[in-house]
């Protein structure tokens, strides 16, 4: 399985790579730091199942990045990872087809639990936590 993280802060990549790999040791974890490179990589990956997407990428506003990824790789689940926990934003992301919404303010254990839920096929959103 391929997992792609698109976020412009390299330090996030280290932590999320370690977390994803600890939950799915056989997963191939890919890193990109801007929208265009992310879309390019997403189209290229043959076993892409999951995109972890930061909505705050430079040059992107609102749900642009999410919409573009959903169009580029409709068979992959796109999970929003965001510093913004605003309810409206969460709602907007989910209605644009985000498979889950993971706030960057989660403590590491909660972050791992959220990723575990998502990798197991479930859904995670900030207010309710895992959704069954």
């Amino acid at each position: 399985m391929d997992v792609l993280l698109v976020d412009d802060h390299p330090i996030i990549h280290e932590t999320l790579r370690a977390m994803v790999r600890s939950l799915r040791p056989t997963a191939d974890f890919h890193s990109q730091f801007d929208l265009d490179a992310g879309l390019c990589e997403a189209r290229r990956l043959e076993r892409l199942e999951l995109v972890l997407l930061d909505l705050g990428l430079p040059g992107c506003s609102g749900m642009d990045a999410l919409v573009k990824f959903r169009q580029a790789v409709p068979n992959a689940r796109v999970v929003v990872i965001s510093a913004d926990e605003d309810h409206e934003r969460v709602r907007a992301a989910l209605s644009e087809g985000a498979a889950s919404y993971v706030p960057k303010t989660l403590r590491p254990k909660a972050m791992v639990d959220a990723l575990r839920t998502i990798l197991d096929g479930g859904m995670f959103t900030p207010s309710e936590g895992p959704v069954r």
């Binding site: 412009d8 802060h9 390299p10 330090i11 996030i12 280290e14 932590t15 999320l16 370690a18 730091f33 705050g56 510093a83 960057k104 303010t105 989660l106 403590r107 590491p108 972050m111």
Partner: protein, 211 residues
């Protein structure tokens, strides 16, 4: 030795702990996710050498967090980590007393380098900030600019963040003399403040602790 990170994204704490550990294995790393928690912790720590501070904490904007920290603990060495990286923000932070500024887009290697620099007593200025300063032809030394050895001594201590009275003590000269040397050096560099001097020296590749 204690190092404190104040950032409201706990996910960053893990990686930064490892990064700091790679350049300062002896350091005890502490993490707080709020300004109040950070200041409280800073007061408790016995040997706090460095604070890594995110400017985007929920309770305050801009350099407020930095200003509040320094009000309570004026001698604290604070390295800003921030999602904003424009040169105005960098200058504002350095002017307010930060010893360095790290954009969050920096890769772990650059972060390690910055932490190492400030733990050695230097100042870290990101390349993004240097665009605001007039270009100098390289290579060039302080002597080329007509800066005397004594003025250079004072200048280097200024960029290490020492106050005029601390410099006076260290060089065994009067505080007024320190001021005169500093101002003469600023004139020669074509700058008018301590912060601008730091940026120019960084561009010239001269660190506060270099010979």
């Amino acid at each position: 030795m204690d190092v404190l990170l104040v950032d409201d994204h706990p996910i960053l704490h893990e990686t930064l702990r490892v990064v700091v550990g790679s350049v300062a294995p002896q350091a005890q790393f502490h993490g707080e996710t709020s300004l109040g928690g950070g200041i409280s912790k800073a007061r408790q720590l016995k040997d706090l050498q460095l604070v890594l501070l995110d400017l985007m904490l929920p309770s305050c904007t801009g350099i407020d967090a930095l200003v509040q920290f320094l009000k309570v603990l004026p001698r604290l060495r604070i390295l800003i980590i921030s999602a904003t990286e424009d040169s105005d923000s960098v200058r504002a932070a350095l002017d307010a007393g930060a010893v360095g500024y790290l954009p969050k887009t920096s890769n772990p290697k650059v972060i390690a380098e910055a932490v190492h620099t400030v733990l050695q007593g230097g100042t870290y200025v990101p390349p993004q900030a240097l665009g605001a300063v007039p270009h100098l032809k390289t290579p060039i030394t302080l002597a080329d600019l007509g800066i005397t050895e004594r003025q250079a001594d004072v200048l280097k201590l200024v960029t290490k963040g020492l106050s005029n009275s601390e410099i006076a003590r260290q060089l065994s000269i009067a505080e007024n003399t320190v001021k005169q040397h500093a101002h003469a050096a600023y004139r020669a560099l074509g700058v008018s403040s301590r912060t601008e001097a730091m940026v120019v020296l960084a561009k010239m590749g001269i660190r506060g602790d270099a010979q």
